[in-house]
Symmetry: C2
Subunit: 233 residues, 2 copies
C-alpha cells in the first residue's frame, strides 16, 4: 500500500565532526540509487561549508597512533538550510560535542513542524531526544551506547529489540548498519515494496525486513527503557 | 588461526568520479573502527586532491532531474601514493571512464608486487581484471553488472554464487554491501575472529560469514564464467 502523498523530494542530511561514516553512507547510498528512480534533491548540511571529518580534532591521536578518517563536503550550512521534506541525522562520537548538540537540535526544532519525516541513525537519536521530538514516542538507538543515550529521552519508550522504530513522522534506526534498514523501510512506506526491493537489490544488501528482528540487543544485554525506567529482561 | 605477519598498517583506498558511495564507506567504516583497535593509516587516493563526487559530471542530469551526490576529500594523488600494504578499489558507474581505467589500473600494476593484499568491491573488480591481476584467479564482482564485467577478465574464473572470493593476495567482493563482508573476512584473516566480531558488533552488521552464501546470484540468474565461457546453470 502506497499512501504517502505528496512524495518527498527535498532531503537533508546532517553532518558534524565525528559522524560515523556508515551511519551516513548507508542511507546516502540508498538515496543515490533512489534518485535514479524518482526525483530526489539532497542537501548535505553542516555548521560551515568546510569538509566534515569522521574524526573529531581531539581524536586525532588514538591509542595506536592510527590516522584513519574521511572528510565529506557539505552543500549547505545549518543557517542556510533549504526547505526540506525529510531530515536524516547520523550518530557517531561527535554527537556528544556541545556545539553539535546545540546546532543540530536547534536545526531540528526549527525544521520539525514542516518536515514529513525525520530519520535518525544510531546515536543520532540522542540529538533528537535532546531536541524533544522523541517525547511521548517509541524509538531506538545504537545498542552499544544504549545506557548513554536512553537517559537523554526520559519521556520516550526506548525499544531494545528493534532494528528500527517508526512512530508518527519519526523513524529511528539502531546502530550504524541499521541505518540502511530504516532507510529502506522508509522508502517502502513512501514508494512501495517494489521500489524498496529494487534499491535493496542494487545494493546487494541482506535487508532486515522485520523491525523487531535485532541480533544486537542480546549481545549488549539491554532491555526497554520506558520514561526513564529500565525494564526487566 | 592468525598467521598474517607483519600486520598491515598502511591502507590505500582509491576514489574516482562516479564511485559507489557504499562500496567505499562500508569498508571505510570497518577500517575506522579497526583503527581504534590496532594501528591503521589510511590514504585516500585520487587523480587530484580535489573532492571526488559519487556522480559523474555527465550524470548531473538524470531522467528525474535529481540532484543527489556526495563528495569526499582525497589525501593523496595517484602520482604521490605512499608505500602501502593494502589497496582497496571500489566500483560504481565511474569505473568505466577511460581516464579512471587508465589511471587506476596503472596504479594497481605499479603497486601490486609490494602489496600484501588487494581488495576490490563491486565493479572495482573490472579495473583489477583490466590490470591483469585477476588472470589465473578466482574472483567475483557486482551481480547486476555480471555480463559487463566478466568479459574484462577472460583468464579468470568468475564465481557467481559468492559474497566474496579470496585467492592469494586478491580479495574480490560482490556488489556494494558485500564490500563490508569482504572487508570483515580480510580483518578476520589478518587479526583473527575476535577482532572481526568486535568490528562487526560495533557496526551492528548482519555479517555474511559464508562466502558462498549469496542471495543475489539467483536474483540476476547468473552463472560462473570460466576463461570467458559462461557455464550452464
Amino acid at each position: 500500500m502506497v499512501s504517502v502523498e505528496p512524495k518527498p523530494v527535498n532531503v537533508g542530511f546532517v553532518l558534524f565532526p565525528g559522524f560515523q561514516a556508515l551511519d551516513a553512507f548507508g542511507p546516502l547510498d540508498a538515496l543515490n540509487i533512489l534518485s535514479t528512480k524518482t526525483k530526489i534533491n539532497l542537501s548535505i548540511l553542516a555548521a560551515t561549508l568546510d569538509p566534515v571529518s569522521t574524526r573529531l580534532p581531539a581524536d586525532q591521536q588514538n591509542p595506536f597512533g592510527s590516522n584513519c578518517a574521511q572528510s565529506v563536503v557539505p552543500t549547505h550550512t545549518f543557517a542556510n538550510a533549504p526547505d526540506l521534506d525529510v531530515l536524516f541525522i547520523p550518530g557517531g562520537v561527535g554527537r556528544r560535542e556541545p556545539d553539535t548538540v546545540d546546532q543540530v537540535s536547534k536545526l531540528l526544532v526549527g525544521l520539525y513542524p514542516s518536515l514529513q519525516s525525520v530519520i535518525t541513525i544510531c546515536t543520532g537519536a540522542a540529538i533528537a531526544a535532546i531536541a524533544g521530538i522523541l517525547d511521548g514516542k517509541k524509538a531506538t538507538t545504537n545498542k552499544k551506547s544504549w545506557s548513554l543515550v536512553t537517559p537523554l529521552g526520559p519521556k520516550t519508550h526506548w525499544v531494545a529489540n528493534a532494528r528500527w522504530v517508526h512512530d508518527g513522522k519519526v523513524w529511528t534506526g539502531a546502530g550504524v548498519s541499521a541505518g540502511i534498514d530504516v532507510t529502506l523501510a522508509w522508502i517502502e512506506e513512501v514508494w512501495g515494496e517494489d521500489m524498496a526491493t529494487d534499491v535493496t537489490t542494487v545494493m546487494e544488501y541482506n535487508r532486515a525486513k522485520d523491525p523487531s528482528q535485532d541480533p544486537f540487543a542480546p549481545v549488549y544485554s539491554i532491555t526497554d527503557v520506558i520514561n526513564g525506567e529500565v525494564q526487566p529482561s
